[in-house]
Amino acid sequence: MHKHLQEVPAVVVVFFDLDWDEPLWKERQMECSTRVEIVRNSLQGRNTKIAVVLIQKNAPLPPGEDLMAAERAVSLCSTCDISAKSLYVLPHTDHLIGYTMRLENAFYEQAQAYYHQEARKVKSHKDFLNKTTHQLLFVRHQFKSAFFNELKQDSNTAIKHYKQAYGYILDLRMHDTNMLEIKTVAGFINYKICRLSFQHNAPLDAIAQFRKHIDFFKSKTGIPELSFEHSAWMSKQFHVFGDLFDEAIKLGLTAIQTQHPGFYFQQAANHAIFRKQLCQGLCMQPEEMKSANEIEEFLGKTEFYGQRKWRQEQQSIEPSDLHKEREGILALQTKERQLDHSLLIIPLLSSAVTQFRKYKSPRMKRFLMVQMGEEYYHAKDHVKALILLNKVMWDYRAERWWKLLTSILGTSLKCAYLTAKVQEYVSNCMELIGRYSQCSENEKIRIQMNLVRVMSHTVPEAEPDLDQSCVEKASALWAEFRSHPTSFTLEMHGLIPFIETKACFVHETVSADNKIIVEVCLRVGCPFPVRLSKLLVLFTNQKYNPHCVLTDGRGISAKSDGGVDSPSDLYLKPNEPRVFSFSFIPFSEDVGEQLEISSLAVEMGNESGCSAMLRWTGGGGETILQPVGPAKPIIRPTPSGQPVDWAAFIVNPVVKIIPRKALLEVKVEHEPPCLLNEVYILTIHVENKESADIHNVKFSLGLQDLEEGQDATTQVSADVSSFEEATLSSHCKTDVGSLKKGQKISKCFYVKCLHVASRVFVAQVNYDVGVRVDDQTLICSCKAEEVISLPTVRPFDVSIKLESLKFETIEAVHADDPFLLTTDIVCSSPWPIEMKNSSLHLSEFIHTAGDKFESQIAEVQLNKSDCGAECICLVASSCVQPSVSLGTYTLEWKRKTANSESLPYVSTTLPLPTVNIEYIPITVQVALPAFGRVKTLLPLCYSVRNRTPYVQEVQISMESTDNFMFSGNKQTQFRVLPSQEYKLHYNFFPLVAGQVTLPRLHLDMMRYPSTMDEIISKMLPTHIFIRPIGKIQPV
C-alpha cells in the first residue's frame, strides 16, 4: 500500500520550457524527449501515465490557426512516444490560475484512468484464481481493487470490494500460525470499511461492521503463550474505531449517551489492561532476557504484515522448527515485557473520560478516573494517582457506595503510604476504619494500629502487596517525617471518618443571666479505643472559643486509667458515645444576638510529634447522611451516668441569647376607646419586684411593629403642652433614673390619634440590674413590656345641611336671598363630651344675615347619642363664580371624665359644603301674617322687585281657589323699573278654616319666558293658617 501511495505514481508530468516558435526547435525537442525517456525508464514498465507540459511565454493562438504549432506538436509527441492527449501547454501569461486549474483536472482524470486500469488488471488476475489453492490471493485481490478504487475516489465501489475482501477473510482456514496475519489484515480491512461507512454518513453500518468484526475475532486468541498479542490487537481495534468515531463526530455526526466513542476507548483500555495482566502472567517467568540484537533478529521486517519473521517462506500449518519457534516466542515476550503498558492505558482512559464527560455520564467518568488512578498507581506515579483518586472519592461518598469507596480508599492509602503524605495517609486511615468502611475487621485493626503509629510520630507499617523497591523508597521518606514535628488540619466536611461528632446547645434560647450549655457527643467506629488530645468548640463569635477547650495530655497510646468519665479524659471506646459538656456565661453585649457553632475540632497526637486537627463545620452530625426523620425534636439535656443514645442526640448549633426576664410589674391604666383628635392619657404604673435596686430606668411608649418610617397619624408625648408644637414623633422615651427595691412609680403619656383605626402600643420599661452568677456580678439589662391595643373612634358625627327659610333642603342658594345653615352634632363617643365653643369661618362671599355669629352650643355637654344642633342664617352675595365654598366650622371640645380635668380642649375643624349660587333677576315677597280668620279680611301685598339694571316686563296671574275669595288683579301685565319694586295688593277673604293653601301666583317674564314661574313659587309661602271664627261669646 505504501508502494501505491508513496512510490508508484499514477501520472508523471514533465514540465519543459519550450515555445512553438523556438528557433532551436530540433535540439530542444531532443532534450525534451530524452527527459521523458529517463522518466519512463525509471518507472520500469509500470502503467504510469506520462504527460508533458510545455511552459510557454506567449499566449496560444486559437487551435487550428497556428499550423507550425500543430505540426511541431505532432512531431514532439512522436519523439517522446506519448499520445497527443498527454501533451499540454501552460502559457506563462495573465490567466495562470485558470490554466493551472484546468491542468489539475486533466491530471486528475489521467490518474483516475490509471487507477481504473490498475483495478481492471487486478480483476483480470482474479479470474485465473480458484478457491481451493488461492484462497489467500482472493483477499489480496479484492483488497487491491478496493484500494485502487479508493485512490480513484470511487468510495462506493471501494467499500463494496473491501466488504468482499472481508468476506473472503472470514472464509479462510485459521490456525495458530497464520492467525496473527489474518487478524492484522482483517483489522486493516475493517478499518477501511468503517472509515468509508462513516464517510458515507452511515454510522450504523460502521458500528454493525465493527461489532461483527469483534464478535468474530474475540475468541480467536491464537497461541496461549502469545495471548497478550491478541489483547493488544483487540485494544488496537477498539482504539482505532474510537478514533474513527470521534473523527466522524467532529465532522458533524451526533452521538448519544449510550453510543459514543467513549465506550470504545474504554474497551480499548480494558483490553490494554488485560494485556498487561497477561503479560505479567506470561512473560515474567523466563529469567534470562533476550538481548536487543536477538530480538531484532526475530522481529525484523517481514514481507507481509503480520507474519513471523522466523517462519517466513513456509506455507505449512505445522511449525517446522520447534526450537526456533520457542526462541521466537521468547523474543516476543521479552519485547512485551519491556513495554510500558500504563503509558498505553492512561491516554486511552483519559480520552474515554473526555468522551464520557461530553455525553453526560458523570459516574462512568468517575469510574474511569478511578481506573486511571489505579493505573497511575501501577505505573508508580503515586502522587498523580493520589490526586486523581481524591478527586473522585467525594462523589462515591456522597452517593454512599461504601464498597466502591473502600476499594478506592485502599488504593489511595497505599499511594499515600508510598509517598509519605501524612495528611492523606491519616485521612484515608480515618475513613477506612470508620463505620461505613467495608474492610474486614482485621484490616481495620491493622490500619488503626498504623494510624496510632503515625499519630505518635513513628513510622507506620507498610501496606501489604507493595513492591519492595517502592517500600524502601517510602521508608526513607517516612524517616524524614520522623525527623521534625508535623501538624496539620483536616477538614472533615465531606469525609466519613471514624470519629463522629454532634454538638448541641441544650436550650434554644438562653437569657443573659444564665449559662450557655454546650454538649458535644463523640463516637468512634474503629475497632480499638482511641484517646484524643484536645476537643474544641469554635463559635461564630470567637470570644467564646476559650471556654470550650478540653485537653487530655496523656498521649494517644495511653490506656484508660480506670477512672472513666473524668472530665478531662478524652478516651473513647468503640460504639460508646460520650458526651462532653461545656458551660459559660454570655457577654452582655451579645444580648439579642445569635450564637452559632462554627465548627468542632478534635486534635489527635501532640504538637511536639505529629498532631492532626480534625475540623467539622457546623454542629457536626452526619453532614452527608441527612436524617430522614421529622425535623426539630425537643432538645433534652443528656442525663449523666447513662449510656448515651447517639441517634437521639440532636444537633442544635444555634442558640439565641435573649435579655434577662424582667422582674417588674408594669400596668397601663387608660380609658379606651381613644377619641379621634383628642389628647388621650395613658398612665403607666411600675413596681420594682427585683431583689435589688434598679438603675437607668427608661420608660418608653410607641407603636408596635413600627419600622423606620414614622406613623404621621399618631403622636405620642410625655407632656401635654408639647401637642401645640408642629412635629411630634410616634415614639416617646423618658428617663426615670433609679428605682429602689419595691418602689412604685407612675408615669403619664399622652397620645393623639389623627385617624380612626385600631393601634397597638407597646409600653416598655428598660433598666439595668446587677445579678450574681457564680461569685460574679453581671450587669443585666432587662426589659419589661406591656402591649396595649387602642381603638380610636370618632367622638361625634356632624351633619351639615343647607335649608331655605322654609326649612326645605336646598341644593343651591339664591344670591342676596337669605338661607339657613344647620349643623347636627351627634355624639358617638362612649364618654360624655364637653363642647367649649363652636365657631364659623365664612368665605368672603358669604356673611351672616343678622348679627355676628354666636355659638349656640357653647358649654353644652353631650352624652352618647345626644344631638346638638346649630342653625345660622346666611346670605350669599352675588359673585362671579358659580359655586362657592362656604367656609369651615370648628368645634372645641374634650371628653368629660373623672381625670380629664387636666386635659386641654381640642378643636375639630369641619369643612362646610360647597354651594351653587344662582342669580335670580327678580324677587317676589309677600308679608304674610301669622294667621287669618275665616270670613275676615286678609289683605296681602305682593311686592315684585327688579334686581337687574334693566326694565323688566312681567305678566302675572292669580289662580283662584275654593278656599278664598279675593279681590285684586286676576291677570295683569306691568313693567318694573331697575332696582324698583312693584306692589300688587290683594284682599283675601278666607272661606274655610285650618292650614289652607293660598292661591298660587303665576309669574312670567318677557325676557325669560316660562322659566320664572317655578322659581317664584318656591319663594312664596304656599299655606296659611286660618282660624275659625270661634264661638260667639256669650254676652
Partner: protein, 138 residues
C-alpha cells in the same frame, strides 16, 4: 441467568446487590454504578412531559463487551438493575421484563415488613432467595 441484580435507592445509593460469580464483585458494583448515568438520563428525559405514564421498564441501558445491563425504575424512583451475560442470547426482552416484574413484586413484599425502615439496606431473606433464584436459573 442474570449475573448481577441490584436495588438502588432513590438517592442512588445501593440497597441491595448480589452477584454471581462473587469473585468479581467489585467490577459489577462499578458496572451497576455507572449504569445509573443512563438511568438518570432516561428518567429526566421522560419527566419533562408530565402526566405521561412512565414505562417502568427502561430496557437495555448499555451494552458492554461482556454484559448487558437492563434497568427498571419504580414510581418512587427505586431503581432495579440487572446485568446479564451478553453471551446468553436466549434471554429476550420479554423475559427480562418478567424478571423485573418479579423483582418489583419481591421488593414490594419486602417493603410491607413493618420492621423495615425505608432507605435501609435490604436484609430480607425472602427477597434474597428470590434474587438467588433469578441468578441461578438454568
Amino acid at each position: 441467568m442474570a449475573a448481577c441484580v441490584a436495588v438502588i435507592a432513590k438517592e442512588n445509593y445501593p440497597l441491595f446487590i448480589k452477584t454471581i460469580p462473587t469473585e468479581n464483585e467489585l467490577k459489577f458494583y462499578y458496572t451497576v454504578h455507572t449504569s445509573l448515568d443512563v438511568v438518570e438520563e432516561k428518567i429526566s428525559s421522560v419527566g419533562k412531559n408530565t402526566n405521561d405514564l412512565r414505562e417502568l421498564y427502561l430496557g437495555l441501558l448499555y451494552p458492554t463487551e461482556d454484559y448487558k445491563v437492563y434497568g427498571y425504575v419504580t414510581n418512587t424512583r427505586v431503581k432495579f438493575v440487572v446485568v446479564v451475560d451478553s453471551t446468553n442470547a436466549s434471554l429476550r426482552d420479554n423475559e427480562i421484563r418478567t424478571m423485573f416484574k418479579k423483582l418489583h413484586n419481591a421488593y414490594v413484599d419486602m417493603l410491607c415488613n413493618p420492621f423495615y425502615k425505608l432507605g435501609d439496606n435490604i436484609t430480607s431473606k425472602g427477597f434474597e432467595n428470590i434474587v438467588k433464584g433469578m441468578l441461578q436459573q438454568d
